[in-house]
């Protein structure tokens, strides 16, 4: 397969398949759980406005002071790689161009016309720096996972594959930007796109799904506990 063909493959059928598996898989997993029945709680609530418990979705974003000691490393590293990853994903110029083309091509409208402002971008140098920080944080959490007795014990295939598939788009993106190793840009770009697609394909099956389930899981605990007046 020639190099351009690889890029065409990445931008063509591979993209179609990856997006299809991602969308169908996410929907299947969410619907498969959310359609399960749930029994009405007949106990007299202490707090009738149980919806107020939804504040746990925000509250649980940082541990309570009492729990901070042993978890601060995980929290800081976790936030670091998430922020770096998401900033690179949503604010790098080529990514923004891609998203805008999706808006225009699939949905048929221009982003800035509809929302009244252009999709913001950040300088590539900033993104590169954040990607490097993010990648460093990912390496740190991997080392922690391999050396911390608790994390080593509870880790499984999903944890390591999800790590690899999260790190790969960052690493290949940086390589593509740097035109590294004398390889042709098109090849590096194709590898980067394929790495993203691999992430999308695995996404619905493993723990990456927490990007969606976290809201429902926290919200459920919040509402149940709020009803009882229990600690959040």
């Amino acid at each position: 397969m020639s190099e351009m063909t690889l890029l065409e493959f990445a931008r063509g059928p591979a993209l179609t398949w990856a997006v299809s598996i991602f969308v169908a898989g996410v929907l299947w997993r969410l619907v498969g759980v959310l359609l399960l029945r749930t029994k009405k709680d007949l106990s007299e609530p202490r707090n009738a406005a149980t919806w107020k418990g939804l504040r746990l979705i925000a509250l649980r974003s940082w541990p309570r002071r009492e729990f901070l000691g042993g978890t601060v490393f995980g929290e800081v590293m976790g936030y670091t790689f998430h922020v770096g990853f998401l900033v690179a994903l949503f604010f790098l110029v080529p990514h923004v161009l891609f998203f805008e083309s999706v808006f225009e091509g699939l949905l048929g409208f221009d982003f800035s016309d509809v929302f009244g402002f252009a999709w913001p971008t950040l300088p590539t140098g900033v993104i590169t720096f954040l990607s490097a920080v993010s990648l460093a944080a990912l390496v740190a959490v991997l080392i922690h996972r391999l050396t911390n007795p608790v994390k080593r014990l509870i880790s499984n295939f999903d944890d390591y594959l999800s790590w690899l598939l999260t790190a790969a788009p960052l690493a290949t993106g940086m390589l593509a930007y740097a035109h590294a190793g004398g390889a042709r840009y098109e090849t590096l770009l194709a590898v980067h796109i394929l790495a993203v697609q691999a992430l999308m394909i695995w996404f619905p099956f493993g723990k990456l799904m927490h990007a969606f389930t976290i809201f429902a899981a926290r919200g459920a605990q919040g509402m149940i506990f709020e009803r009882k007046g229990a600690s959040l």
Binding site: K39, L42, S43, G74, F205, A216, R218, I224, S231
Partner: protein
Amino acid sequence: MSQTTVPEVRFDRQGDLSDAERVEKAMGNFVKDFGRTAAIWMESCIHCGMCAEACHFYEATKDPKYTPIWKLEPFKQAYKREYGPFAIFFRTLNLKSKVTARELEEWQQLLYDSCTVCGRCSLMCPMGIDIASLISQARHGMFHAGLVPQELYAVTERGHREGSPLGATPKVFMDRIEWLADDHEVDIPLDKAQAEVLCTMSSIEIMKYPDSVVATARIMNHLGLDWTFRTDGYEATNFGLLSGNAAWQKEMTLKLINAAVACGAKTLVLPECGHAYTALRWMGANMYGKPLPFRVLHMSEFLAEYVQNGRLRLRKLPKTATFHDPCQVSRRGGATEAPRVVLEALGVDLHEMYPTKGTNWCCGGGGGVVANSRANELRYKVFRIKMEQIDETGAELPVTSCANCRQTFDDGQAHFKWDKEMHSLLELVADNLVEEAK
């Protein structure tokens, strides 16, 4: 070549089911009544391991096997392989191997000996998974698989057979009421046909702390309430809940509900017992199938209510005190401030522990652990956390509002020859009633 020694796995079995049947029953009963909420929690773990930091068993031992979410591992595995939305995918590619009876036997110790269902881990989980409720669900599976620690099984079965796990049968209860009434010269109404308030007791109080029975009577009489104990519904402990038998849990719960309905009670007062509060206050109506036609109050809530409406006036107690929050009443039950209202009325100088209230450390004896003597060694390790916490407050009086916690403290005190004795909030109130107040 060096020899490795495999530590002996301690487990008990009930019945003569085959291994395959045990696995099937464990998993079937785990997912029975498995609704949307439990499923979303099962889908959400990211293996961050932070729950370990909240667990007293991990804190005391630093053994990773006590990581709360790890205690559910076979059930997580089986859920993904057999029941989750992608079960077919996990099964076909064998990404999750089939759970074995041997694994369940190994996990018995983790699910019963090293978890008090205190729910501290649930407050830590960044995904919002209520790990404690999933542990209870896993215990349903273990009970039906005949894989419960024998001592816990025995008291549960006795509770089912005799109406009380510690032998406080209706006859024994009646005799003790008579004896206590005579001995303490207090009127203790029993089996009134009609009463506004139905009081209930924990068998630990009936058998080990009978002063609590007397204290309850003194306070109720002092307040001039129309109240009673009833022999058809007095036992508030619920080992069906603790061990994982929902049918027996329901049976115990319905006794209390039916007794309250029979005497037309407007209020049912639960004793100083943690899990009794969960069983009736938060699960009772769901067992009954409709809202309860009476209020359910924990003893601390009842006392706080009468302090706040001015009918319960107390002599001042010029001492320093600290309050141990019973997990099921405070952290998971929401009645965190009630005992503090009462302590304020008692005029004690309250030295809060750190952490306190919703994140207070568990005593280590809840969830049936104190009834399971093979867990003693581990429980004592955990109890050190509690001793340090209380010693650091410098308070003279440790106080709690749970007979099970109190029993755990008394046992820990004797084991470590500790100089602190746990006190019952109820008994402190009864000892300090201002007599002229009506």
